[in-house]
C-alpha cells in the first residue's frame, strides 16, 4: 500500500463520521430546526453501538441500535422545541449535556473492554488494484453508507415532492402550513432523521474508528459536524467536500509533524478552524447564493394559530 493511498484512506475514515452527522443535521436545518445537540446524540450512539455489539457479538446490530437510540434521544429535543416551543439553542445545548452524562452512566461497565470491529469490505481482485483498490473497493461498509446517504439526501431534497415539502417548511413555515402541510409533523421526522444519523456517526467511532468505549469519546466532533453544515451553506455535496477537506487538514497537519516541519503544533492544530472561517468568508461573499440556500425559518419557533 503506497503512502498516498494510505493517507487518502485515513482521511476518508476521519471524514466519514463528520459527514454522516452533518448530513443528518443538514436535513434538520433544512426543515427549519437548529439542533445543537449533535454531540450529545453522537455520544449516545457511540455507547449504544458499542454495548449492543459487545453483547450480541454483531457490529451491525450495534449500528442499528445506535441509529434507533439516536433517533429516540432526538425525540426529547423534538418534543421540547416543537411541541412545547422551547428555545432551540438552549434545548440543544441541554441535550448535549444530558447525552454526555447519560452515556457515561450507561457505559461505566464497558470501560477497558475491546469492542467488536465492523469488518472492512474485501472484494478479491478489485480491492487489490494499486492506488485506488482499497480506496474504492476495500473500506468499511459505513463509508459506502455515508456516500450513499449523501446522494440519497440530495435526491430526496431536490428531486422528490417530499423533499420540496420539507424545504418549504424550512423556508416559510407560515405558508407551508397554509397549504395544509403538517409543519410540526415534518419537523419531527427531520429531527429524528438527524438523531439517527448522529447515532450512526457515534457508533462509527466506537465500532470502526477505535472499537472501544470511553467517556466523551466523541471529543467535540458533533460541533465540527454542526459547523460543516453552515460551512456548506446547507448543500449536501458541499458538506461532503467540507468533511473531506476538514479531514485532510487534520490528517495533513499530523503528517507535517511526522515529517519534522518545525511549526508550533498549536498553529497546525488551529489550521482546520482558520481554514473553515476563510472558506466560509469566500463562499458567503456571494450573497445571493448564500441567501438562496439558507432556510429562512431556521431556528424560528412555529405554533399553528387558531
Amino acid at each position: 500500500m503506497g503512502t498516498l493511498e494510505a493517507v487518502l484512506l485515513t482521511i476518508a475514515t476521519a471524514a466519514t463520521p463528520l459527514l454522516i452527522a452533518a448530513v443528518g443535521e443538514l436535513v434538520v436545518e433544512r426543515s427549519g430546526v437548529l439542533n445543537l445537540g449533535v454531540e450529545g446524540m453522537m455520544v449516545m450512539g457511540a455507547v449504544t453501538g458499542f454495548a449492543i455489539a459487545l453483547m450480541t457479538g454483531s457490529a451491525w446490530l450495534g449500528l442499528i441500535a445506535a441509529i434507533i437510540v439516536g433517533a429516540l434521544f432526538s425525540l426529547l429535543f423534538g418534543f421540547l422545541t416543537l411541541t412545547l416551543v422551547t428555545n432551540q439553542v438552549a434545548t440543544g445545548l441541554a441535550l448535549t449535556l444530558l447525552g454526555l452524562g447519560f452515556s457515561g452512566m450507561l457505559g461505566e461497565g464497558f470501560v477497558g473492554q475491546p469492542g467488536v470491529k465492523l469488518a472492512s469490505v474485501y472484494i478479491p481482485g478489485l480491492s487489490d488494484i494499486p492506488l485506488v483498490g482499497k480506496l474504492i473497493f476495500g473500506q468499511d461498509p459505513v463509508f459506502y453508507i455515508s456516500i450513499a446517504l449523501t446522494a440519497a439526501v440530495v435526491y430526496f431534497l431536490f428531486k422528490t415532492r417530499a423533499g420540496l415539502t420539507l424545504r418549504s417548511v424550512g423556508d416559510n413555515h407560515g405558508s407551508a402550513h397554509a397549504l395544509g402541510i403538517s409543519v410540526i409533523g415534518i419537523r419531527y421526522m427531520a429531527v429524528m432523521f438527524g438523531g439517527g444519523c448522529a447515532g450512526l456517526s457515534g457508533a462509527y467511532l466506537s465500532l470502526v474508528y477505535t472499537p472501544q468505549w470511553t467517556e466523551n469519546m466523541t471529543a467535540g466532533r458533533g460541533w465540527i459536524a454542526l459547523a460543516l453544515v453552515v460551512f456548506a451553506s446547507w448543500r449536501p455535496w458541499r458538506v461532503l467536500a467540507g468533511a473531506y477537506l476538514f479531514g485532510a487538514v487534520t490528517i495533513g497537519q499530523l503528517h507535517a509533524q511526522a515529517l519534522g516541519f518545525g511549526i508550533p503544533s498549536q498553529l497546525l492544530s488551529s489550521l482546520p478552524y482558520v481554514a473553515t472561517i476563510i472558506v466560509l468568508v469566500l463562499i458567503s461573499r456571494n450573497k445571493r447564493l448564500t441567501m438562496m440556500n439558507t432556510p429562512a425559518s431556521l431556528g424560528r419557533p412555529f405554533v399553528p394559530d387558531r
Binding site: T10, G104, P114, T214, A258
Partner: protein, 355 residues
Amino acid sequence: MKKTLLALTAATLVSFGATAAYAKTKACFIYVGPIGDFGWSYQHHQGLLDAEKAMGDELETAYLESVPEGADAERAIERFARSGCNIIFTTSFGYMDATNKVARRFPKVKFEHATGYKREHDNVSTYGSRFYEGRYVQGEIAASISKTGVAGYIASFPIPEVVRGINSFILGAQSVNPDFKLKVVWVNTWFDPGKEADAAKALIDQGVDVITQHTDSTGPMQVAAERGIKAFGQASDMINFGKETQLTSIVDDWGPYYIERIEAVAKGSWDQKDTWAGMKEGHVVMAEYTNMPDDVKATAAATEAKIKSGEFHPFSGPITKQDGSEWLKEGETADIGTMLGMNFYVKGVDDTLPQ
C-alpha cells in the same frame, strides 16, 4: 475523643510492630478526568481501590472526577478539607496552587499533590513517578525489533515530563542501534481516541513500525493492531486491545504509595516529603513482555533489573543534545533539577521541540 484514644492505641500498637486496627481514616481523591478514561485518572482510581482493599473497614474514601483545573479545583479541595478528609490526593499538575492555597487554611489535613513541585506548607507533600525509566526499556525493545529503524511517538503536550520520556526512549533505542530515528507527533490533547488513532495512522504511513504514546487512550494500540505493527501501552496494561501487538506497557501503579501514605496518616507518622519513585519502589511497573523474541525479552528484563537495583540510570553520559552541544560527560548522570525542567531533545530525535 474516642477517635483520638483509638488513634493513640493504634499508634502504640503499631510502634510495637503489631498489625493492628487503625482508627478510621478518610482519604479523598480529586481526578482531572473521568475514572472511565482507562488512562491517567483510571489508574489513580485503581490506587484508591487498592488502598480500600488493603485497609478494609479502617479506610473511608471519597473522590471527585472530572474536576477542571482552575477555580473549580480550589473549591473541590476545600470541600474535601471541610468534609472530614484526613488526607487529600490531588492528582493533576494543574491543581498545584489550589492545593497549596487550601493547605494553608487547613493545617491539620494532609495534602498530597501529584507531579508538582510546590510544597509551601508543612502539610503538603508532592509525588511523582519516574516513568522515563520504563521509556528507556521501551526504546531498547523498539530498536531491537524494528525493521525500518524508525519509531513513532504520539506526544500530548511539550512539558518536561513528556520530553523526558522522549529523550529516554531514544537513548534506549540508540544503545541498540546508534542510527535509530524517532518521529514525534504532538496531538495537543491527553485524551481523544480518534485523534490519537489518526496520529498513529499518520506515523505508520510514514514508515514507522513501532509506536509508543504519551497520551491516555487505547486508540493507537488498536490502530497498530489493525495495521499489524507493534506498539507500547501507556498508563494501564492495554494487552486486551492488542493481544498480538502490545510489547509491554508502562503501568502507573499508585497503589503502594497511596497505601503507604494513608497508613502513615492513620499511624500519625505522616511527614512532608517529595517522592519521585520509579521501578525500584514499584510505582513504575512494566507489563509482561510479549510479542517479541526471547533474547529481546531477556535484554529488556536485564535492563529493568539494572534500573531497579540502581546500577544503571537512563540519563548517564556521554549524552549530546540535539543541537550538538554536550549535555553529560562520560560518567555523569543527570541531576534532578535538569530532569524536572527538561526542555531540550537529545541527539537523534527527528523533531523540533515546540518552545
